[in-house]
């Protein structure tokens, strides 16, 4: 069924990302967009999706979106809460995470991520928050989904700093690093879905959201982006998905006050 409701590009992005999560998966969730999409999946088609946050909660079922990575509603609804070292050593590095779900400030054509600095490291134009859990999530989770709004400032030809490795400079470069996970298998944006194309592992457009032109995608990408041989059109959101998403966001706004 297609949507009778109007929807925004952000809603399209979130719903497309949520659909990639299968019921019963263990999903290591970054705060912000990934947390939004993962909770939407849990509230729609994947009720037994296991949400894991780096602050320690395993199996969190927050009634509203957490504002921070360590909100109380994560701990209170989790099956248990482990220490941060245990989380990274036993659960992530231990190889027990199906999906690492991350946002990013900047990515390149091989799915590498910069969340450290814009400009020179020693004299940065802009200092970003830094690595957080991303490098090892991207290294050890069985597969990684990336989610961010597409723009030429975010999708750059060369990163100022490699904080988190996707496929490095492509080909078998990632494999040679000995990372245990497969790496980023999808980048979900407000315009399209990118997937790594073997053997180069360059990110190419695999699915275009309804009503988005190739020109617009190219203009929003800082490198000459390529399109897969057979590009799909992304299924538009269903009314059910849209209503669930809007309800979650409304409840979150109400809970956090003018917060969100």
């Amino acid at each position: 069924m297609t949507a009778s409701l109007e929807y925004t590009a952000s809603e399209m992005m979130t719903i497309t990302a949520a659909r990639l999560l299968r019921d019963g998966m263990s999903c290591f969730v970054g705060i912000g967009l990934p947390s939004l999409a993962a909770n939407l999946a849990r509230l729609t088609h994947a009720p037994d999706l296991v949400l894991i946050y780096e602050s320690g909660p395993i199996g969190a079922k927050p009634p509203v979106l957490p504002l921070s990575i360590g909100d109380g509603n994560l701990a209170e609804t989790a099956a248990t809460v482990v220490s941060t070292p245990e989380m990274f050593q036993y659960w992530l590095q231990g190889g027990r995470i199906d999906v690492g779900f991350l946002g990013a400030a900047q990515i390149d054509r091989f799915g590498n991520i910069n969340t450290t600095v814009i400009g020179d490291y020693r004299r940065p134009k802009a200092r970003l928050p830094g690595a957080g859990g991303a490098p090892e999530i991207a290294g050890s989770a069985r597969r990684v989904f990336l989610m961010l709004k597409q723009s030429a400032r975010a999708f750059v030809s060369t990163l100022d700093f490699i904080t988190t490795v996707g496929y490095l400079d492509g080909g078998d470069a990632r494999a040679r690093l000995g990372l245990t996970g497969a790496g980023p298998v999808a980048v979900i944006t407000d315009l399209c879905v990118l997937e790594p194309e073997p053997p180069s592992h360059e990110m190419v457009v695999a699915s275009v959201h309804p009503g988005v032109t190739r020109e617009r995608i190219s203009a929003a990408t800082g490198w000459p982006i390529r399109f897969a041989e057979r590009v799909r059109e992304t299924e538009p959101p269903t009314d059910g998905e849209l209503l669930a998403l809007r309800d979650l966001q409304a409840r979150t706004r109400a809970a956090h006050g003018e917060a969100s």
Binding site: L67, S68, G70, V81, S83, F88, T116, G133, A259
Partner: protein, 287 residues
């Protein structure tokens, strides 16, 4: 045995200029009361350690207490940048701030190594990233059995660890629950430790295998009700998300930051007075 002290006495007795200090807390139980007291007592040249430096570190840095920061993610959770941290790094205001940055997994391993009295921790990490290029405390070791190369991080051994917990008993045994972060590791890795608590009780209660720090593993226990605000203490009060959002505007300019700091921290005697002043000002601040 932990000494029972006020926050003022503990900071004055255990935190000195030039110390390496870890005020830990992973969103939950962040020791704001103790952090404010460090600012009040005008500590300088501190090396601050924290996986997730947030608003209290922004305040310490903006107040000029720190010359070095060891961290893995620095931001205002759910809001955006730490403007005082950025101003120090980007424009050396109030002075330069040296950074030693890790990933969460790396810094967590460094705390575990410290708590375990090992000189380094081993992890699967950092491979292919630029972080080892800018942090000499990230190196690589070879497995003596498989020959595999793995990342190694230098152990973190703070002079002082400061954490906030829910409860202590009269002997100074400390009980923590909910999101634990690396607080226990920070205390065990440190030479000295200050634990502020919501309340001191006759009987901790607790449950099997509870996260407990025995009195003899802690230097000082200080009663500081509400001492994690605007962070939260599970079972006591919620996170003050409005404050974190308001902080974005307060901290954006140097003048507004300094005015806020003077009014709320420098000109207040203790955390109780800070709380009173904040109640007066918060209406205006957050709208």
């Amino acid at each position: 045995m932990a000494e029972r002290m006020t926050v003022r006495e503990a900071v004055s007795a255990f935190i000195h200029d030039g110390d390496t200090v870890a005020l830990e807390g992973f969103t939950h139980l962040i020791p704001f009361a103790a952090g404010h007291e460090v600012i009040r007592q005008g500590r300088r040249d501190l090396t601050l350690v924290r996986m997730t430096p947030d608003v209290i570190y922004d305040q310490l840095i903006g107040a000029g207490c720190a010359t070095r920061l060891i961290f893995s993610w620095g931001g205002n959770p759910g809001v955006g940048s730490l403007h005082r941290l950025r101003d120090a790094v980007e424009h050396e205001w109030p002075h330069a701030l040296a950074l030693e940055e890790h990933s969460h997994a790396g810094l967590a391993s460094a705390y575990v190594a410290g708590a375990s009295n090992l000189p380094f921790g081993v992890l699967r990490g950092y491979a292919g990233t630029d972080l080892p290029k800018v942090n000499d405390n990230i190196r690589f070791v070879r497995c003596p059995f498989t020959g595999e190369e793995l990342a190694a991080v230098r152990a973190v051994r703070p002079d002082v660890a400061v954490i906030h917990a829910q409860k202590a008993d009269r002997k100074g045994n400390v009980l923590i629950w909910g999101i634990l972060g690396v607080q226990k590791e920070a205390v065990l890795a440190a030479r000295r430790s200050i634990v502020t608590v919501e309340e001191i009780v006759d009987d901790l209660g607790g449950w099997p295998n509870a996260a407990l720090l025995p009195s003899w593993s802690v230097s000082a226990v200080c009663e500081a009700p509400g001492g994690a605000h605007p962070s939260y203490a599970q079972g006591y009060y919620d996170r003050d998300n409005r404050f974190y959002q308001a902080w974005d505007a307060i901290s954006h300019g140097r003048d507004t930051f300094q005015a806020w700091l003077r009014r709320h921290v420098l000109d207040t005697a203790d955390f109780a007075e800070y709380t009173r002043v904040l109640a007066e000002t918060q209406g205006r601040v957050t709208t």
